[in-house]
Symmetry: C2
Subunit: 383 residues, 2 copies
């Protein structure tokens, strides 16, 4: 049975072009970038090339890009690297755990954190950001697009607001889910720090990047050989960095960009059809400010995990909430922040489309979903 | 011109078997291990399998192995994860920067650190460890085998010493360079924590592992989705973890183990011949307690970096000091700790052999080296 993958927000397969770019750096050009000899020089040149591609995507300088071992590490570096006791952070209730957990850790150590609420569509109000600013506010960290509900935040507007202030407040955005679809020019966004992930953009796992605007002093998380300008020690993961560079470049390929139109059409078709053919279902997140690949619905009388397992048995991979909390029994903090009840949050399904999604897959999914829901509702004795 | 690589301590090429094992996890079985569906389950099974291989190599339980993004991160996690203000750490003057730098950072925050000296061969005295112990000693961290001079420390003896004490002192060893050649059974060594690297054992870059004995409370470095039992968040780098598992397994392949005899013979031949044919040269590190692949010599009247560059021009890759400090102009802290002068330390050359080293490469190297030294000595006006 061919598998249908509709969970592209969890992770993506490595693009063939990315794989091709990485290939030589495992066995043939395997040098350590810190070595003086030609093996090392080839490795450092490959990293420079990848850094150039990321810098060009972000509209920043080469030395403003730090490669890390994951986007989670990049988010942690942005938070822990900037903040000290007594500082104040403004973030939102719907950030990824890679932001929320560091903030919660810092709270225990005497850092103040404001977790801004979102409206019923998952949007942060710019005026709420403004109102939350205190004298000791050092950092605002707000994700560009949400991983669960796909809501796109008004990052450029918040950037404007913060730029206009006399006292410098650093502005970080987690652009992990945005990078496939949205303009990540750091000047247009007005951000000082920005996080990217390899494996969400058809690049490899095990690599992330953090944009850090020139002049920002950032304490490292990981100390040692002094790689990445001393900001992230450890032998550079050359193939993965090359892969991230190739993946970022490929997001700008006109064919890939045109394909987004098709993805958005699939998304709209899915939302419209699900809400029509599945009774007592509703869309979570904004219908407008939404990633082109995200569908998140609450289906009454069907439990999220049960739906995922039942669909998996039919050869269709989707998600409930975010993959990162899939092992947890807690309902999604994002859906709760929208005002959903625990029961509604537990009954949510996330379908995320991608570069390889086909019409046939959409048709198959729309055929199987009502059958699965009907069966689960029978079991749970719904209505 | 075929390249001769004699810098295996810096990094190693990925073994074909390792590459083969990793392959499927980039594009086909690319799921996120946190996902409930079958793509995710395949990924988690692959990680479990790799974890089993590492646990079997170390003689430990599955849940005592944490995968990280590098050995540097694993070393940082061991140090930062255990230590708080007022604690005392015992380490050595010849550790890797991935241990020394975290220790130096902690010193600024009110942690006491004793950096034990080594003898002229680079060996730590067990009695020195004993004498350094204080009431507030929480951790002893001593590397198994040194990356620059290949000296093998008496880890099992130190383990015995620490085990015999009433107050628990955690014992960590950085086994990154040892794993190819030495028994890493954690019970025999008597260690509570042990660090492994992927790319030093013919596995991929961007992955390390930390053994943490059951019951040890370890604060994470990176917070987020709660992967690796909450000890190292971030989407698991599935292909790299699979690669580390395959690489560890391959170290135990009888063919690979027999090959070590050949490597040791090459090493002995090189040491003997270099000291004979290059005047005013001497061996750094222990002639006996030494990794089978390491040669480190000081050659008077020839500067280390100049030798590396001149040999590179002849198609031979070697190193001066450790690759991680190759970009630094500071002389090697390891060689200084042996009692070498700055000048002697600057005139050192590290030749490290590996799985693919051939007799032809050794012959070629021994032919080229004296020519290079002669030329450099002419330039520098030596004698």
């Amino acid at each position: 049975m061919p598998k249908i993958y509709l969970d592209y927000a969890s992770t993506t397969p490595v693009d063939p072009k990315v794989m091709e770019a990485m290939k030589t750096y495992f066995k043939k050009d395997f040098g350590n970038p810190s070595s003086i000899h030609s093996f090392g020089q080839k490795a450092i040149a490959a990293i420079d090339d990848a850094r150039q591609k990321v810098a060009s995507f972000l509209g920043c300088e080469l030395d403003e890009v730090i490669f890390t071992g994951s986007a989670t590490e990049a988010n942690n570096l942005a938070i822990f690297g900037l903040i000290k006791k007594g500082d104040h952070i403004i973030t939102t209730q719907i950030e990824h755990h890679a932001i929320l957990e560091p903030c919660q850790k810092l709270e225990k150590e005497g850092v103040e954190v404001t977790y801004l609420p979102v409206d019923k569509d998952g949007l942060v109000k710019v005026s709420d950001v403004e109102k939350a600013i205190k004298l000791n506010t050092i950092l605002v960290s707000i994700m560009y697009a949400n991983n669960e509900i796909g809501t796109i935040q008004p990052i450029a507007e918040i950037g404007e607001l913060l730029k206009a202030r006399k006292n410098k407040i650093y502005f970080h955005t987690d652009a992990v889910q945005a990078a496939n679809y949205l303009d990540c020019d750091v000047k247009k966004l007005g951000v000082d720090l920005l996080t990217l992930s390899g494996h969400k953009i058809y690049g490899p796992k095990g690599v992330g990047a953090l944009f850090v605007k020139k002049g920002i002093l950032l304490n490292p998380l990981i100390y040692g050989g002094g790689q990445e300008q001393g900001r992230r020690s450890g032998t550079e993961n050359v193939p993965a960095i090359v892969g991230l560079g190739a993946a970022i470049e490929e997001t700008q390929n006109p064919k890939i960009k045109i394909n987004i139109i098709r993805i958005r059409q699939f998304r709209d078709k899915l939302i419209k059809t699900i809400l029509k053919i599945v009774s007592d279902s509703k869309l979570n997140g904004s219908p407008i400010q939404r990633l082109p690949n995200n569908i998140n619905v609450t289906i009454d009388g069907a439990e999220g995990e049960a739906m995922v397992i039942a669909l998996d048995q039919k050869g269709i991979a989707v998600s409930t909430g975010s993959a990162c909390s899939a092992k947890s029994l807690e309902p999604s903090h994002v859906l709760l922040a929208l005002g959903l009840s625990h029961e509604e949050a537990h009954g949510s399904l996330r379908i995320t489309l991608g570069r390889y999604t086909t019409q046939e897959e959409i048709t198959k999914f729309l055929k199987v979903l009502p059958q699965v829901i009907q069966r689960l509702r029978q079991i749970s004795g719904y209505k």
